[in-house]
Symmetry: C2
Subunit: 317 residues, 2 copies
Amino acid sequence: MAAAIALSRRGRGLSTPNPNVGCLIVHDGRVVGRGWTQKGGRPHAEAQALDQAMEQARGATAYVTLEPCFHLSPRGPRCADLLSRAGVARVVIALRDPDPRTNGQGAAWLRDRGVAVDMGLMADEAAAAMAGFVLRQTLGRPHVTLKLGLSLDGRIALANGASRWITGPQARAHAHLERARHDAILVGGGTLRADAPRLDVRLPGLADRTPRRLLLTRGSTPDGWDRVGAPGAIAALDRVDHLLVEGGAGAAAAFLHADLVDRLLLYRAPILIGDGLAGIGDIGLGDLAQAHGRWRLTDDRTLGVDRLEVYERVRSA
Amino acid sequence: MAAAIALSRRGRGLSTPNPNVGCLIVHDGRVVGRGWTQKGGRPHAEAQALDQAMEQARGATAYVTLEPCFHLSPRGPRCADLLSRAGVARVVIALRDPDPRTNGQGAAWLRDRGVAVDMGLMADEAAAAMAGFVLRQTLGRPHVTLKLGLSLDGRIALANGASRWITGPQARAHAHLERARHDAILVGGGTLRADAPRLDVRLPGLADRTPRRLLLTRGSTPDGWDRVGAPGAIAALDRVDHLLVEGGAGAAAAFLHADLVDRLLLYRAPILIGDGLAGIGDIGLGDLAQAHGRWRLTDDRTLGVDRLEVYERVRSA
């Protein structure tokens, strides 16, 4: 299942409007098929993995990160049907599909056709890998990551606005890879005017993965940008399950103030700036006690001389 | 030698006016004596280790982090003499003593009396453990550590000044242990007025290790505090080899601006504050390129939910 979850991550930022599912088919201890939801949502992970497995799917075990779909669609076959027709003996599912059109019916369909079904293996890990889809189903909005490139003392630029460069080439390459994993990137009006960021993915082979560009503004937007009037408006964005907020301090503060940030990506350079621009503006914090218990460190790595820390928002269920 | 260096750290913040030397005596593969420079500088590490070893010092190997002293003092015996009289067969030294009254003469005295001498083993590590003594000898000033307790976004307090607490109990206990390793602690006038810090060591068994309290001010100082008029004035402080600067933003900036900070202790809590007080004021940075290449991460640990990062100033020799 861990391998299926790793496959699912490949579709992140690419598979909308469908969830980024991963699927692994194993026959007699050998992997015979691997799939993940492709660009635009088709083919589904199961269909791709079954295509690879061909005859060897018969009697095999399929590991799927999300319950196979049951509902009819003009865009393609139902995966629950595909798996049973291929003669798969057992389907191991991480996460039950919260979509009411499937929600348990995919598993029931398989069981009715004599396929063994286990559900719940590594469900938390699978949910984290498909966080955008899960939040869309549960809270009705995209998963939001806030990215900051900081000095040790929390500055994103000198007082004169100079910010190139705080972090080094490895950290910047990692940030570009993160862009490719998101459906859309958002910046505030101040950042657009000051930096005119391209927000593209400048990595070999990934240039076509450049996400949609969003501007947080009450005014108008230039060509090539879509307008977001307020943080809460992201719920209405079509085909955006994973949103990356890249700055500046005003946009970061607006999303934090609205408690709409699920993940922090902090790239920290080993430099001190002193007086300069802060990464985050007013988030409406009245008391230090309120600030605690909200963020949990989930990843921590060295990128050249810089450090990356990833924090996730702790939300009680 | 690594064990002798660990012993030497026990005397840090305690041994002035003498260097915090460590000494280990090994006979036939067994440790027969351990010593470190005691409070106020006497007895020396070698004298203490020889006292423990007694007869077993004869034919043994002594590991010393600093060349044994050669100069005559009314305060105690010369360690080079003590070691040769005790019949030690070999002395392994990390660092040559830069004090001109010894500087090579301790080793020469030993060799003249038939003792084998090796010098230079783990010299860098020993110099780091005795950084205050080394800087006093080379730059004529104490070793300076700047401590900051920060949020993820680099704030040391809310906009209203509230700073209790940003970090948790484990991080605060560690910060108290660091106090015990310093001869003096310095804060700025703003911090004294706002927080009235006690700057004592509130750890079981270490309450008597509370360092001297210094105030960075052009004005007068309250009882129990000594005045430092400007960062450069620390060179004239008597019996201060290791100085801890604890804040606030003005004092931190003054020492950084003067390039008088050798080590950063960054305690970082997993919280966001947004608008608030920055840890470091204007350090006179005109260009981002100047900020790079100055700090190297040397330690990194988790303290409860907080993180400690230690950076050291990279100075070309």
